[in-house]
């Protein structure tokens, strides 16, 4: 095994494979920065180019590209409040809030360092877990996966606002997200649901325009209202400092970063959940690290832990998602499904062969994830502070550029004007939520989880009827969901009692 590990490294370091990896990193870097252009889409576009390559070169190219997309997606999220990738949306909540306080450099430093640690943890998990993961994946059937989705939603809904009122709004927002996810042709009976008689809605609502609208539109309106730069009146001298502080923050909260990386890896392993879910789960966990209600209020207002959690989970999920893809041929996400296509194009069959005959190729994938992330983060750090200065550019110079990217980013989902309308509609909803003090995070998680949860619920009911509710892992997860819901309320009550006692 050790021999295969080193052989994998040597394979990636061959000049041709290394050059293809650099090319992939370059492409992934820009794809990550552009809103709307997803990593999965780019993988699909690049798939035909691997025909002439050797397996190691092909995976160095594809994985190199895919590994850095989430990392650079964080950059636009932090600087402009526009998610460069669907998987980078959670970074906006605290990352962009930090940018508005003049701490863009620190937020970017934290996002990139946690991304690197996340990627390393994911790659390490991939290297270690392949022989032992089979029983874990097989324990989780549809009922358990449905409950994982419910726990995730309970997690974020109960933690993203304060008190009973906040929790009510959190669950309402999450439920609304799940409801919007039902739009389109239903997967079981083929009924057109809530399509308003239009063909466009048959395919359902696209995630990218919805995410861009929910997050970017309220930020853009606020920027117009303020009439200043993103960083406001913060002295320009402060903007180009802080990247190093972000690195230090990562190590100050090292165990949080590791835990969020593990959450990302776990979500990555679970088929169908994907990176959009991992980031919110990690964000929910990061908010739990607040020791009291006062500290929790910092989240959403620029707490660096809100950047570290999603940043780490975003990248660690790649290693996790590769585990079932390589070991069983079960892709953990849409991007992995496309990568699976790459396996077949290369004449490789995922499964036991990848762990025996082609073990060196499997380890070359691990090394590609590690090297691609290290190279990207080092390259980003070279001009991170210069990037942070963009937050000092006059707002009315940035707004037209951001709006052009927002409109085109939405349009690219289906190349249909309907996507732009969806973006504007969800922008309106997002704006109302911000004005009304409703949390947007559960709404987005509901949108992401809707289709997955529906599918698992249907299979659970059709296969087990009501008996799925009594399965041991389901009961454990149900208990966990109840704890997650009750914990903040108990914490708030205790804090209230303490305050009364002091008075």
């Amino acid at each position: 095994m050790i021999d295969a590990l080193f052989e994998g490294l040597l394979l990636v370091l061959q000049w041709k494979a290394f050059a293809f990896m650099l090319l992939g990193i370059g492409l992934g870097f820009w794809v990550g920065l552009l809103p709307g252009l997803g990593g999965a889409t780019t993988l699909a576009l690049m798939l035909p180019f691997i025909y002439a390559m050797q397996p190691v070169e092909a995976f160095a190219f594809l994985l190199g590209m895919h590994s850095v997309v989430a990392t650079t997606g964080d950059i636009t999220s932090v600087l402009f409040g526009v998610p460069g990738e669907a998987t980078a949306a959670a970074t906006i909540l605290d990352g962009h809030a930090m940018a508005k306080k003049g701490e863009a450099g620190r937020a970017l430093g934290a996002a990139l360092t946690s991304s690197l640690i996340g990627a390393l943890v994911g790659a390490f998990a991939l290297a270690l877990a392949i022989p032992v993961v089979r029983p874990l994946v097989l324990t989780f059937g549809s009922p358990e996966l449905f409950m994982v989705a419910i726990v995730g939603l309970a997690f974020i809904a109960s933690l993203s606002a304060h008190g009973a009122r906040g929790m009510l709004r959190g669950f309402l927002a999450g439920g609304l997200g799940l409801f919007f996810a039902t739009v389109g042709q239903d997967p079981q009976a083929g009924i057109a649901r809530y399509t308003l008689g239009t063909l466009y809605l048959w395919g359902g609502l696209e995630l990218v325009p919805m995410l861009i609208g929910i997050f970017a539109i309220p930020e853009i309106i606020d920027l117009v209202v303020r009439g200043t730069s993103i960083a406001g009146d913060v002295p320009p001298g402060r903007l180009n400092k802080g990247a190093l502080e972000g690195v230090k923050d990562t190590f100050r909260h090292f165990w949080l970063t590791i835990r969020c990386s593990l959450i990302g890896t776990f979500i990555g392993i679970m088929p169908g959940l994907g990176g959009s879910v991992a980031q919110w789960m990690a964000y929910g966990h990061a908010t739990q690290s607040a020791r009291n209600a006062e500290e929790r209020k910092q989240f959403g207002a620029g707490d660096v832990r809100g950047v570290l959690g999603p940043g780490a989970a975003n990248n660690s999920k790649e290693g996790g998602a590769l585990i079932p893809t390589v070991a069983f041929g079960v892709p953990g996400s849409s991007a992995m499904a496309i990568l699976l296509g790459g396996f077949f194009l290369m004449g490789l069959v995922p499964g036991p062969d990848m762990l025996t005959k082609h073990l060196a190729v499997t380890f070359s994938m691990v090394w590609t994830i590690v090297l691609a992330n290290v190279i990207t983060v080092v390259a980003c750090f070279l001009f991170l502070n210069q990037l942070a200065r963009l937050t000092a550019v006059r707002g009315h110079l940035l707004i037209p550029v951001i709006l052009v990217l927002v409109f085109i980013g939405s349009y690219t989902a289906n190349n249909h004007y309907g996507d732009v309308l969806v973006m504007l509609l969800f922008g309106g909803i997002g704006y109302l939520m911000v004005v009304g003090g409703w949390p947007r995070a559960p709404f987005v998680l509901g949108l992401v989880l809707g289709k997955i949860a529906e599918n698992y619920l249907y299979i659970s009911v059709a296969r087990y009827e009501a008996a799925w509710l009594y399965r041991p892992v389901v009961l454990v997860l149900l208990g966990l969901a109840l704890v997650v819901i009750c914990y903040p309320l108990i914490q708030a009550r205790r804090a209230g009692a303490k305050k009364d006692a002091h008075a």
Partner: protein
């Protein structure tokens, strides 16, 4: 203002979920299961929220999310918000009427001149730069299909 937004959202969700549940009742159970499982609870939660807004405390809830700027007078905030919405709707209208390749430079230039009150030189150079980025990346490199606008189609310029 936050109470009005909450009330609007609550009532909107009640109407939406009621319509969703009523529509789902006519579908086979396979298609109706999830919309009913979701629709009924969110109707009840939305009704609770509406009652809370109408008869409960008016204190704004604290969320882990970004807050809009509050340092400006409400009239100024409302006027600028309306302006921002107007620009976005105007840009969308321009895209539909004259398509992306024409709407992008038109919007950037007008925004810089009218909203940003920038000089002619900077406005023109900036517009050309944004247009070059748009054209080079999305049109030439990525070959995104941009359909003709209504005006081009109507005038037979396709």
């Amino acid at each position: 203002m936050h109470s009005k937004a909450s009330l609007g959202l609550g009532v909107g969700i009640m109407i939406l979920s009621a319509w969703g549940v009523i529509s789902a009742l006519a579908w086979p159970w396979k298609a109706a299961l999830f919309p009913l499982v979701i629709g009924i609870p969110i109707f009840c939660l939305a009704a609770t929220e509406v009652l809370w807004v109408l008869f409960g405390s008016t204190v704004r809830g604290e969320t882990m999310d970004f807050q809009l700027s509050t340092h400006l007078p409400e009239q100024v905030t409302l006027r600028r918000t309306a302006l921002a919405v107007g620009w976005m709707l105007g840009f969308f209208g321009a895209i539909v009427l004259v398509s992306f390749p024409v709407a992008v430079p038109l919007f950037v230039f007008l925004y810089l001149k009218l909203q940003g009150r920038e000089g002619w030189g900077l406005s023109l150079i900036f517009t050309v730069a944004v247009w070059a980025l748009f054209y080079g990346l999305f049109d030439r490199l990525l070959h995104l299909p941009f359909p003709d606008g209504w005006i081009q189609t109507w005038a037979g310029l396709t």
